[in-house]
């Protein structure tokens, strides 16, 4: 019976050794979702959405997320249409073949900040601001990494050649093209929460964790049931197995 566990342990061991990063390891923070059965703090994620819209969205897209998905954060359809209508996008060509802008609606994906990849690069000194939909999954220990990074802007140590970027001790190579985006009080929270830098960052990371893994809560709650079921089934199968084999020995 230990063979499965054993092979799994060996595998985990191999993977625990698979880490060779020169940048500083991100600081571990206890998010609402950090524990295996943790959930997304909806209020925090809603505030994070506000930070994203008012600060990040000017450069970073969120194209895999649709406004309708915001129902998952507790917004209703009217609220979602109100959020979406702040953004404009190209409509389908009309009967004359002209493309006219229209306001985004419920069913649209988050509107991208730039017309295309090159326009995004040109507007940002040649560094493309990556889409944030999957950022938490696209980095190792993503939530902690993004939090550490956004809090990790400091002056470069003496003699460190920065060039055109900014110094950040959590970035691989310690040079990041993005200037420090958040300083605290960048937004005025609708729910009255004090918008300190750390608060903003935690809220944003909570929001981005949700955009990366909208399935997180469903997955964990379904998982708990499935594992419990399989556990019971395994015991029953084991008992059946022992019964059947005990007949053989006689």
């Amino acid at each position: 019976m230990n063979i499965f566990t054993l092979s799994f342990l060996i595998l985990s061991f191999i993977f625990s050794l698979v880490s060779a990063d020169e940048a500083l390891k991100p600081e571990q923070y206890p998010f609402s979702f950090s524990k295996p059965l943790g959930k997304i703090d909806k209020n925090s994620a809603q505030r994070g959405l506000q930070v994203y819209i008012e600060v990040c969205a000017s450069c970073h897209g969120l194209k895999h997320v649709a406004y309708r998905n915001l129902e998952g954060l507790g917004y209703n359809k009217d609220q979602i249409n109100a959020i979406a209508s702040q953004f404009e996008l190209d409509d389908f060509p009309n009967d004359e073949g002209e493309i006219i802008k229209r306001k985004a609606i419920y069913s649209d994906s988050f509107v991208e900040p730039y017309e295309n990849h090159n326009a995004a690069k040109a507007a940002n000194n040649g560094a493309y601001p990556p889409d944030l939909s999957l950022m938490v999954k696209a980095r190792k220990d993503g939530a902690n990494y993004i939090r550490s990074l956004l809090l990790g802007y400091t002056d470069a140590p003496d003699g460190f050649e920065i060039g055109e970027g900014y110094y950040n001790k959590y970035m691989a190579g310690n040079i990041i093209a993005m200037p420090q985006p958040l300083y605290g009080d960048d937004v005025e929270y609708k729910d009255g929460t004090n918008a300190s830098l750390e608060q903003e960052v935690n809220d944003l990371v909570t929001f981005l964790t949700w955009t990366s893994m909208p399935d997180l809560e469903d997955r964990r709650s379904a998982g708990l049931k499935v594992i419990f079921f399989l556990f019971v089934m395994t015991i029953l199968f084991y008992l059946s197995y022992r019964k059947i084999w005990s007949e053989l020995k006689k």
Binding site: R139, R219, G223, L224, I227, F231, T234, F237, S240, I244
Partner: protein, 404 residues
């Protein structure tokens, strides 16, 4: 009640007389005489079959929602994850199912190594198994390309470039594989087709594998032939229930990963869309390729590395003749038993070093481990059969079991 039972039996007999499916199943999955002393390591064969089935079912479903085009592939995966009903579950099962398939198959192979299951008369059974492994590797590699993330793209670039090491025609072969001058849309498209096709070839070879298995029956932990009917028990219900128990246990672990750590075995870089202009800092293949990747990088010569990597698998074909000992099970081979464990550790070290950057101490470790890998097969095993004195073999399977 009685008469309806009689009727059912009549219908079954009618069908079986014309198409003997029932008697075939009865012969090969119910009455099939199986050694009575198989331990849990023998569970992994049917478990591998199960995971193959899971991969085919989830794969066919994913293909209904996936788009094999460089502009849409990455987005279509996210569409599956976010929009398709239960799409995230099906994709995570497929992703982790591949890893579990390999775990199970590797354990199955090492069981064969330990108990000498490759020895006469099971050489072809062993060969078919290696062919399955090769097909699995090709399928898994091409499947990993389909999400068209950074690791997909650069993994495909590196692996296809291996073929450019072939003298004279190497470049032509890589261009032929790519359908262009780099990994691009034609490559993605054909990899998708082949990723869909190869699993059915695997099913075909699995059928042959089972035919070969049933010709001489399973090997067993003692590695001795069965002397009579007292050494066997019918497959059903004894091994069906044992396999079901093993399956249920394995599924518990599998779904623990699927639901609580679905990206644990993957690489974060593959959630970044492929960018032909930017290579990730560390390119690492999926974990199940790491030992072979380490062998590839251990050799400082391009062609040499490729040859070494492929030889590492092809040497397995020769194993039935390289191992000159007549005794199958390591239980009765005191020195081979030690060599087996050293070899297993060597393989794990190769896997570990394959995940590390190719520099400094890691290169030295990978060279020593690679050398030992071939030493084990090409020198130690042939010599060992000549010099090793095995412990006395039991007279029959039934005896030690009855003695317990």
């Amino acid at each position: 009640m009685e008469s309806s039972k009689k009727n059912t039996k009549g219908i079954i007999n009618w069908i079986d007389y014309r198409l003997p499916v029932v008697s075939f199943l009865k012969h090969s999955a119910v009455d099939y005489p199986t050694p009575r002393n198989l331990n849990y390591w023998w569970n992994f064969g049917s478990l591998a079959g199960f995971f193959l089935l899971v991969q085919i079912i989830t794969g066919v479903i994913l293909s209904m929602h996936y788009t094999a085009h460089v502009d849409h592939a990455f987005d279509s995966i996210e569409h599956i994850m976010r929009n398709v009903n239960h799409g995230w579950l099906i994709r995570y099962i497929h992703m982790n199912g591949a890893s579990f398939f390999f775990i199970v198959v590797y354990i199955h192979i090492f069981r064969g190594l330990y108990y000498g299951s490759y020895k006469a008369p099971r050489e072809l059974l062993w060969w078919l198994g290696i062919i399955i492994l090769l097909l699995m590797m090709a399928t898994a590699f091409m499947g990993y390309v389909l999400p068209w993330g950074q690791m997909s793209f650069w993994g495909a670039t590196v692996i296809t470039n291996l073929f450019s090491a072939i003298p004279l025609i190497g470049d032509n072969i890589t261009q032929w594989l790519w359908g262009g001058y780099s990994v691009d849309n034609p490559t993605l498209s054909r990899f998708y087709t082949l990723h869909f096709l190869l699993p059915f070839l695997i099913v075909g070879v699995v059928v042959l594998h089972i035919v070969a298995l049933h010709t001489h029956g399973s090997n067993n932990p003692l590695g001795i032939d069965r002397k009579g009917p007292q050494d066997s028990i019918p497959f059903h219900p004894f091994y069906t229930i044992k396999d079901l128990f093993g399956l249920s246990f394995a599924l518990t672990i599998f779904f623990a990963v699927v639901f609580f750590a679905p990206d644990f075995l993957g690489h974060p870089d593959n959630y970044i869309p492929a960018d032909p202009l930017k290579t990730p800092a560390h390119i690492v293949p999926e974990w199940y390729f790491l030992p072979f990747y380490a062998i590839l990088r251990a050799i400082p010569d391009k062609l040499g590395g490729v040859i070494a990597m492929f030889s590492a698998i092809f040497v397995l074909f020769l194993l039935p003749w390289l191992d000159t000992s007549k005794v199958r099970s390591a239980t009765f081979r005191p020195i081979y038993k030690i060599l087996f464990w050293i070899f297993l550790i060597d393989a794990i070290i190769l896997g570990w070093v394959g995940s590390k950057p190719a520099e400094g101490i890691y290169i030295i470790i990978s060279r020593i481990a690679t050398l030992y890998y071939f030493l084990h097969f090409l020198i130690l095993l042939p010599l060992l059969g000549k010099f090793e004195r095995n412990r006395p073999l039991p007279e029959s399977i039934g005896k030690p079991v009855l003695a317990e």
